[in-house]
């Protein structure tokens, strides 16, 4: 029986690859665990096509600031989205290493740039908790919920929402206009 958050997941992730699987699995879900400015986050493993270590990224002039550039993944052009910019986190120190999580959305490939990808964890859906009401808006908008891991808290990222970068997103619209 899908719990409340489970239902949310399947609704919100309609278009995202793997989204339906998360709901369908019911019991357990595997998450790719990543770090963003010291915050532990997770992405449903079925939404992830590839995890890349450092890649040359060609910047795109005039792109929204979240768009870090393009990268070449075995002959396919992948749009790189810097999640630090996307979630309005402080920028990554220059020269600091980063990794990318490749995901498919509407037959386009996107690489989500994160600080580090550490492991894959299988967690029970029922254990996921709703976002605390005090969560900053930018996080709440892009999160399905929170897992309490032994040491730290992990935010389950909503990949579909993260990729909604169209000019209809006011943040982006401003960034574009500026």
């Amino acid at each position: 029986m899908p719990d409340r958050t489970g239902a949310d997941v399947s609704n919100d992730l309609q278009g995202a690859a793997g989204g339906s699987h998360v709901g369908a699995q019911g019991g357990d879900g595997a998450f790719v665990i990543l770090t963003l400015a010291d915050q532990l986050c997770g992405v449903p493993v079925l939404a992830v096509r590839d995890v890349l270590a450092y890649q040359a990224i060609a910047r795109i002039p005039l792109a929204p600031r979240e768009v870090a550039g393009n990268l070449n993944l075995r002959g396919r052009i992948v749009t790189a989205i810097d999640l630090r910019e996307r979630l309005r986190l402080p920028p990554r120190p220059a020269g600091a290493p980063f990794m990318s999580i490749v995901t498919e959305h509407g037959s386009e490939l996107y690489a989500l740039l994160v600080d580090e990808v550490s492991e894959v964890l299988t967690l029970r859906h029922a254990a996921m908790e709703a976002n605390p009401p005090t969560l900053p808006r930018i996080w709440a908008e892009h999160s399905h919920g929170i897992y309490r891991l032994e040491q730290r808290l992990m935010v389950v990222l909503d990949v579909t929402r993260l990729l909604q970068l169209q000019p209809d997103n006011p943040d982006t619209a401003i960034a574009v206009a500026a």
Binding site: L62, V67, N72, V176
Partner: protein
């Protein structure tokens, strides 16, 4: 063979194969309604197509079979083996006829009576003796080929049907292969000659061949996009009462399926346009000495990796004057800007958004979505469109489009360390600038905007790095290269740091997130694996604020003509007659603005008057009603115009504002009392014809007998239609007999034609021959007008100008729009002149 027949053969052969299977299935399960309707539909289609193509034998046989099947479908007849056999026999007969058709392109002679009789028997429910199809077949001329049909038909047509998606997939794969090949070649070049060099070269050649081969599978003759046109043209001819011949050439020219699909609508639209706007009605054509039927000619051919498509008509050609007027009216350019444009540039306005010259919106075209959509569709696929037109002889649009969209040849350039691809089709030439030797051309600046002298032209430049915000504006570009690109009707120089090479690139669409960045038409992966953006020169031009056909907003883009400024003037905006749209009048024509208490407005002889400064002043309402009181308040706002001792008040609803703006007026307003429409403060605004309203008041209230000064003849020389329209009525109203000329040359012709006048009023700033030159010519050589008083009108009043004017021969100098001083000046000049 006819294309239609060939297609029919392919389709029917497929249908027949399906039918064989379905009939056998039906025999086993006679009650299967789905199969039955499938069979019925297939036979029905064959019959229908035969009838359409004029194949009577096939049609008769198919019709008989359809009859039988119809009855089976309606459950009036059981699908007994006898019935099925009869139908199968008819199918064999159809195959036989088809075979002869594919061999000879025509139906063979022969008699199908027995076959049809058998079917009719079956239809009537009687079991009939079945004639053996094979013996009947002997009646056909190709008697020997009894058993050949199925095999021969298949091999004869030599085509198979493949889903478009399969071809698309193949093309994508070939694209990837080309990329990988490029990558390998790059590595190989870096490594120098080794074992791999030779096989790699072979691989490269094979890849190229494969690419061409696969592209060929996607090729379709352009005739496919044209096949609906004859019907369209016929209908259009019918609707418009014109006689139109459609001449299509080069239908076999092949181009990529994707390109073809994208070209279909623009072509249809252009043919519509030609039929609707381009060609004249038969009587007009006859009067012009042309043959009654107009011709629309479509021509397609290959030219150097591109397809050229021409859409030409032998109609009236583009009416440049109408375009000019329309451009002014819609505010796309000012009179001054138009004045310096060539006819070709003016014609190019038809490609601008919101432009349509059709006087009336017809069902066929003229809905304001027109050539601009055509142009943007063509540009979207990396093509260009050009236009040539000769008045009275017709127009010709030339479209140049790439053979394919998937793989294009592009120039790789570098700006600020980043590489970009520019499609070769839009690159005209490369110019080195700066350089140490000093021989290369140099970039010059006009008001901070970089330009380049390119032979006889001033080329506006855009620094790619600055435009894409890769760097701060770098004015000192040494050792740069200018990529001269064709954008719309003009050219644009894109300044880059370096130019590498041309490379065949596979165009990949940009991610949806980046679609709003119009400067890029896609991205691609280079041989070295780098991802780079493909520039769209038209998008770059737009991004630089310089539209393809020179937008008004281009400002800093550095075209030399932007320097020519028009006179700005103070304009009074007001509302009148309950209309929401504001009206405008030049402020210096208005003597005063008054709020007249409503109770002070009196009515006499059916018109409104008020006592104003001790005199009666007529009040004119601008709406048809003619009565006062359209403003609700206790007072009536009135614009007071005075002339000597006479005053007239124009009642308005509300005075809005005084703005300082350029008056780019479009003439030919349909309503009297208005000069036309101009864009003022960003809004389309009707401009008042004060002369009209003044004469209205005077005729009504003072009578023409009143106070006309001695009959004097004036010549007004003024290039601007607007000022002319303003001056002439005002001067006529003052009692002068006015002749107007649009320029110095025209005025001199009038002189040579024997026109007699008493004084000349001339503008100074005019194209071709300015007022000073005109004055010199009038004074020189003792022509008929050599001693006439000449009054100069000018927007500027610097004493130096005035001195130059007097030197050239002007008697007096007046500010434009200062009507009173002009009248005074005329009075003085003429009284001085009278004794002569």
């Amino acid at each position: 063979m006819d294309d239609l027949i060939a297609e029919f053969l392919t389709e029917t052969n497929e249908a027949l194969a399906d039918l064989d299977l379905a009939l056998v299935k039906l025999e086993r399960t006679p009650d299967d309604q789905a199969t039955l309707s499938l069979i019925f539909r297939l036979v029905h289609t064959i019959k229908g197509t035969c009838g359409f193509l004029g194949l009577p034998r096939l049609e008769r046989v198919a019709h008989a079979a359809e009859n039988v099947l119809g009855r089976v479908r309606d459950r009036e007849l059981a699908a007994t083996p006898g019935v099925i056999t009869a139908v199968l026999a008819s199918l064999d007969r159809i195959k036989l006829i088809l075979f002869a058709l594919s061999a000879n392109g025509a139906e063979p002679a022969g008699d199908d009576a027995a076959c049809i009789a058998a079917l009719d028997h079956a239809a009537s429910g009687e079991a009939a003796p079945m004639p053996a199809p094979a013996t009947e077949a002997a009646a056909a001329p190709e008697a020997g080929a009894v058993e050949a049909p199925s095999a021969e038909v298949a091999s004869g047509s030599q085509t198979i049907r493949v889903g478009v998606d399969v071809l698309e997939e193949l093309m994508t794969l070939v694209g990837e292969l080309v990329l990988t090949r490029n990558q390998l070649l790059q590595i190989s070049r870096a490594e120098g000659t080794n074992l791999f060099t030779a096989p790699l070269q072979r691989l490269s050649n094979i890849t190229t061949d494969l690419q061409e081969g696969v592209m060929k599978t996607r090729m379709q003759p352009i005739g496919n996009a044209w096949n609906k046109l004859p019907r369209l043209v016929r209908d259009l001819a019918h609707e418009t009462g014109k006689k139109i011949e459609l001449d299509m050439r080069g239908q076999d020219t092949e181009l990529d399926r994707q390109v073809l699909e994208l070209m279909r609508d623009p072509l249809t639209h252009m043919v519509r346009n030609s039929a609707d706007h381009g060609l004249e009605t038969p009587d007009i054509r006859r009067a012009a000495g042309k043959k009654e039927a107009g011709t629309i000619r479509l021509n397609a051919y290959h030219e150097g990796g591109h397809i050229i498509i021409e859409v030409a008509d032998d109609g009236r050609g583009l009416d440049v004057a109408a375009i000019r007027a329309k451009v002014l009216r819609s505010g796309l350019a000012t009179e001054a800007e138009l004045a310096v444009m060539t006819e070709a540039q003016v014609r190019h306005f038809i490609f601008r958004a919101g432009f349509s010259t059709a006087a009336a919106v017809t069902a066929i075209s003229g809905r304001g979505v027109g050539m601009d959509v055509v142009r943007s569709n063509i540009e979207r696929i990396g093509g260009t469109i050009e236009l040539a037109s000769t008045p009275g002889q017709g127009s010709c649009f030339t479209i140049k489009i790439p053979l394919t969209l998937a793989i294009v040849s592009a120039l790789i350039v570098k700006a600020c360390g980043e590489r970009f691809a520019i499609p070769q089709i839009s690159v005209l030439e490369l110019v080195r600038v700066g350089g140490v030797g000093g021989t290369a051309a140099a970039i010059e600046q006009i008001g901070g905007a970089p330009v380049l002298r390119l032979r006889d032209q001033l080329l506006p430049l855009i620094s790619l790095g600055t435009l894409l915000r890769l760097q701060e504006a770098d004015t000192k570009a040494d050792n740069a290269t200018v990529v001269v690109t064709a954008v719309g009707s003009g050219m644009l120089g894109i300044v880059v740091d370096d130019v590498y090479d041309t490379e065949e690139i596979v165009v990949k669409p940009v991610a949806p997130i980046l679609r709003h960045v119009t400067m890029f038409s896609g991205n691609t992966i280079l041989g070295d694996g780098a991802v780079i953006m493909i520039l769209d020169p038209n998008g770059v031009a737009r991004g630089a604020g310089l539209s393809a056909s020179r937008d008004r907003r281009e400002a800093g883009a550095g075209s030399a003509q932007a320097a020519r400024s028009d006179d700005g003037m103070a304009l009074l905006l007001f509302r009148v007659g309950g209309q929401p749209a504001p009206r405008a009048v030049p402020l210096n024509l208005v003597a005063r603005l008054e709020d007249i208490p409503r109770e002070k407005i009196e009515f006499s002889s059916g018109g409104a008057v008020t006592q104003y400064r001790g005199k009666l002043m007529p009040l004119i309402a601008m709406d048809e009603g003619g009565g006062a009181g359209q403003a609700a308040g206790p007072t009536q706002p009135v614009l007071v115009f005075t002339d000597g001792a006479r005053s007239m008040g124009l009642m308005v609803d509300e005075i809005i504002d005084v703005v300082h703006d350029r008056l780019n007026i479009e003439l030919g307003a349909a309503r009297p009392g208005l000069l036309g429409t101009a864009v003022i403060a960003g809004e389309a605004t009707d401009v008042l014809d004060t002369g009209f309203w003044l004469t209205q008041a005077w005729r009504d209230w003072f009578g023409s007998a009143h106070g006309t000064p001695a009959h004097r003849r004036l010549l007004v020389v003024e290039d601007s239609d607007f000022f002319r329209k303003l001056l002439v009525p005002a001067l006529s109203a003052a009692g002068y007999e006015v002749t107007a000329a649009g320029g110095g040359a025209e005025a001199l012709r009038l002189r040579d034609g024997g026109l007699e006048v008493d004084a000349i009023v001339s503008d100074i700033d005019m194209p071709d021959m300015d007022g000073l030159e005109f004055a010199r010519q009038v004074r020189a050589g003792g022509g008929a007008w050599a001693t006439l008083p000449m009054i100069a009108l000018t927007g500027r009043g610097a004493p130096a100008d005035e001195a130059r004017g007097r030197e050239a021969g002007f008697t007096d100098y007046c500010q434009k729009f200062e009507r009173d001083s002009l009248l005074v000046s005329l009075q003085q000049c003429l009284t001085e002149q009278v004794p002569m």
